[in-house]
Symmetry: C2
Subunit: 277 residues, 2 copies
């Protein structure tokens, strides 16, 4: 039997810890979530954040802005939150319409309130190796490894997927933890040989069941960040049923990396609160 890396149980531990810490504060930490439009998927993610925030005693303010908002107006909304002393963290729920300059908008978040680590200052700090706020999904992966006493130092980690939101920051964070990191993607030739050679595989492609039993080998640790809805069910990037007994440890979908993302975001929020106090 391989070890199941249980993100739900760990999320619940973090929840209790955050709730306990926040209960002792004079003021509640506040997260502002800015959404442009009304995408169903975004609504679901935001709902999860609001629920988690309620449970730990944080304030989550959801600003839902019209799909046709002008860039300048959106930036003004961000600046209002930057200037608001009661606000400790700000995230822009992605995606936003393509007509808006995504990088410019994200970079108008104050680096001190950038709890999802998406501004230029945060990304540079990750590249340089002394991160301020690590992007929530990446932080969740690191925390899941740490909690299960899996030390990536010196190990060969293959990250499959090179998104700016997940793949690249996760690769950089694992590099900072002294892993030897390979970034593979859809143009990679001979992906199978590369994933088989890894000590740890992190998959974030959004391609359901891409990693079958032919892509893994014994003693590996697999973190599955992919979440896709297939026939009304959440499916990961790993063919979990056929892989799980072949490897040393694996995170399931749902219940693995997913729950860790929200918990990590609120850990960053509390950290921001403490730094700002």
């Amino acid at each position: 039997m391989s070890q199941i890396l249980d993100g739900k149980a760990l999320r619940d531990e973090i929840l209790d810890d955050l709730k306990n810490q926040i209960s002792k504060l004079d003021q509640k930490p506040e997260l502002v979530i800015i959404q442009v439009g009304d995408l169903a998927e975004s609504n679901t993610y935001i709902e999860q954040k609001i629920k988690f925030g309620e449970k730990i005693g944080a304030i989550v303010t959801h600003k839902k802005l019209p799909l046709d908002i002008a860039e300048s107006e959106l930036i003004r909304e961000i600046q209002l939150a930057n200037d608001d002393e009661n606000v400790n963290g700000i995230i822009i729920q992605l995606p936003i319409p393509q007509s808006l300059n995504k990088e410019k908008i994200i970079d108008s978040i104050s680096p001190q309130k950038d709890v999802d680590g998406q501004t230029a200052i945060s990304i540079k700090s990750l590249v340089v190796g002394s991160p301020t706020f690590i992007p929530a999904t990446t932080k969740g992966v690191i925390t899941l490894l740490d909690a299960n006493k899996i030390d990536p130092s010196g190990k060969h980690v293959v990250v499959v997927g090179r998104s700016t939101l997940v793949g690249k920051p996760t690769a950089l964070a694992l590099l900072n933890r002294d892993a030897t990191v390979t970034i593979a993607h859809k143009k990679t030739q001979n992906l199978q040989a590369i994933t088989k050679s890894a000590d740890i595989i992190v998959v974030a492609t959004g391609k359901p069941k891409l990693i079958t039993k032919d892509y893994v080998s014994e003693n590996q640790i697999i973190i599955d960040i992919g979440i896709t809805v297939v026939d009304g069910k959440l499916v990961g990037d790993v063919d979990f049923e056929n892989v799980k007994d072949l490897v040393a440890a694996i995170s399931p979908v749902p219940g693995g990396a997913g729950p860790m993302t929200v918990a990590s975001l609120f850990q960053n929020l509390l950290e921001a609160y403490q730094k700002q106090s």
Copy 2:
């Protein structure tokens, strides 16, 4: 016989091209180099840049500041150059004293004049995949590959060394060019097996002759960015004499990646000039 990737010849081609383009401009592009202290190695690098600038008809202004300069004063110098319409590019010659906040200082360079791609905005643009200015050494590597019709797309590139100035940006730039990229470093276990599995090896560790014949295999392409002075001679990170006949192509030291760095910096300067006009 393996192919020698000749950075000197290519540098001379770029020099002629830049000289020709600049001769047609109304005003000469200007680079400001800010140095803190008087490190011999820095002096040599700056001298190379001044010479190259003279040859192509660019203005290179060297501001040598005292070792004990206050951070605020150094930042004021940078802002003067930011505000000077005649200045098109600014670089801080590294290293600077540890007492100064390096990231804060670099980030005070206007992103429009950041011709060595070291500010947060430039680094984020490289991570996101739509770079503004690619760091000069990295740009030199890419140009050397391109000029020799070596397409990294889909290839497995192993970058040995993870410095912020060279290793990491080179890995990111090659990832943007669709390579499968592995970043190895001093904590990497089994480096030999990893470099042997590569299609392209890029070495930037500053460890003379780290890569011996036991680290390479046939058909590989090797780019050596290492430069160390050993017994008065420039030595690369690759044991060139014993490796060169085993692989498909290799860049020598000196005369490989080194000359490309200065040429690339001035390509970025001309690009900055054109964007600013």
